[in-house]
């Protein structure tokens, strides 16, 4: 009997190629109209044709994502550290943070637009809102999950509260912190696109609505493709950073 071929790292590209070929053939055989489901080749063509326009929109969305993500990151880190150090702050703020997550984004997005106009600000704010929660939850959980024995040992060693925070709690929280960052990275692009959807001058979200309204489904798919690539890219950057910060396998 023949042994299984060890595909290893090839399994993903192969499965992807199979999917694309199957999709292309099905569209060709069934003669599906382009406005229903465009063939991959049509999507590629649309991507090439609209590339300069798409890139302009991508730049805007990416700017919103980066500004929102970094703002959320700074806010989350500061708030987490404050909440861990000052218990009252945690008790006051935590319920509001959960409530902020229960209001649907598609209600907040138009509301933000009414308040802050059609510019970039309401979009950045939505990204901040989307990213803030997972980063903070991860970090706070990492900071507060401790071994009681280790705490006592540190007490015997006469560690000061700030030493305990910086030398033990923060490094210990890194795996959970990065889990939160990765979730936030994955959500951030979707958040930006959704808020552009409601009303914007530029951005992948507005390109999406325009393509949809004009039945340019292939262009719509091309737009989605860029959203996927952007999200993956952010996720990859965070994963790479994580490996740099946490070199130890055992921590993951």
């Amino acid at each position: 009997m023949k042994k299984f071929i060890n595909t290893g790292k090839l399994s993903l590209p192969i499965s992807f190629a199979v999917l694309i070929i199957a999709w292309e053939s099905l569209v060709y055989v069934l003669k599906t109209p382009d406005y229903l489901i465009p063939a991959p080749s049509a999507v590629l063509q649309a991507l090439i044709e609209s590339f300069p326009v798409l890139m302009r929109h991508t730049a805007v969305t990416l700017l919103e994502v980066i500004l929102g993500f970094i703002t959320a990151l700074i806010l989350s880190v500061v708030m987490s550290l404050l909440m861990v150090r000052i218990k009252v702050l945690y008790q006051i703020l935590w319920p509001y943070m959960i409530i902020s997550q229960t209001v649907p984004l598609y209600i907040l997005a138009p509301l933000f637009m009414i308040w802050f106009g059609f510019g970039i600000l309401p979009k950045v704010l939505i990204v901040v809102l989307v990213c803030f929660f997972p980063i903070t939850v991860g970090f706070v959980q990492g900071l507060t999950s401790t071994e009681p024995e280790l705490d006592e040992l540190l007490q015997v060693m006469r560690a000061t509260p700030s030493q305990i925070l910086w030398k033990v709690r923060v490094p210990q929280a890194m795996p959970q912190f990065f889990s939160g960052l990765k979730i936030a990275a994955a959500y951030s692009v979707t958040g930006a696109v959704l808020s552009e959807w409601v009303g914007a001058q530029e951005g992948l979200g507005i390109f999406l609505t325009r393509s949809m309204k004009t039945f340019k489904t292939a262009a719509l798919f091309a737009d989605v493709l860029i959203i996927i690539v952007l999200s993956l890219l952010l996720f990859y950057i965070i994963s790479h950073l994580e490996k740099k910060v946490i070199r130890r396998r055992s921590l993951l």
């Binding site: 024995e149 006592e152 060693m157 006469r158 946490i246 396998r249």
Partner: protein, 251 residues
């Protein structure tokens, strides 16, 4: 002889479900400086609570605990403390784990690197300084934890079942190794163990505690010379000590 630890009529109780639970009852223990003293007793007899009290982690008690001539209520003592769990920080390599107590007390910068290197090689860790805790065996991790404890401030070491989680063979090796190091430095060691033979082999003095509430029910001197040799375990004196301690523990 100077007393490193002097415990007089120590009583300690916890409140559990509104009921008072006596853990330690009139514990008296006098440890001379530079001695190796073991405490054995059944599980839950309050041995660890005794250590936690000496280390300043338990504040509510009656009686007195004097460390190096000072009541610990007045001045918190410098104590080196080690538990069965090694509690090494997984994101720090061996060297960085070891120096943690020096780093926390701000003395790392003034510490002679030659001294550090000497201690590292004395503890047999020179080939592992760059390794991370998850790359080490249980015995090795305990050595690292012990060296970290050694570098904590204070001339008194409280070792709470440090070898409890190790297999028999590793345990014998690490006992010999601990004796060798201890005989060089002669810090005062209080050592909790379940293992009667371990207690006799290592110690100058063995205290036996009763089941809860913990009392000292026996206190014997172990009259073997130093440095100790492994073959004392075959002597009739060793067997006598063992029989004596076992009957005190009622096992």
């Amino acid at each position: 002889m100077e007393l490193a630890v002097d415990i007089v009529n120590l009583c300690k109780s916890f409140t559990l479900n509104n009921k008072e639970l006596k853990v330690l009852e009139n514990v008296n223990l006098q440890a001379e400086a530079g001695k190796f003293i073991s405490i054995i007793g059944p599980s839950g007899c309050g041995k660890s609570t005794l250590f936690r009290t000496i280390a300043g982690l338990e504040k509510e008690y009656t009686g007195s605990v004097i460390v190096n001539g000072n009541d610990i209520r007045q001045s918190r003592p410098y104590i080196a403390y080690m538990l069965q769990k090694d509690l090494l920080l997984p994101w720090r390599n061996v060297r960085k784990n070891i120096v943690l107590p020096l780093e926390l007390s701000g003395k790392l910068k003034n510490t002679d690197t030659g001294f550090l290197e000497k201690m590292i090689s004395e503890f047999g860790l020179e080939d592992f300084v760059e390794a991370y805790p998850d790359e080490l065996s249980g015995g090795m991790r305990q050595r690292v934890a012990l060296l970290r404890t050694w570098l904590m401030e204070g001339s008194i070491m409280l070792l709470d079942e440090p070898f409890g989680a190790l297999d028999a063979l590793t345990r014998k090796n690490i006992q010999d190794w601990l004796l060798e190091i201890w005989e060089k430095h002669r810090k005062t060691v209080l050592f909790i163990t379940h293992d009667i033979e371990e207690a006799i082999y290592l110690s100058d003095e063995v205290y036996v505690m009763s089941p809860r509430p913990g009392k000292i029910i026996e206190n014997i001197n172990i009259n073997f010379g130093r440095p100790r040799r492994r073959d004392i375990v075959y002597t009739s004196l060793f067997i006598d000590y063992k029989r004596w301690l076992m009957s005190a523990l009622q096992v």
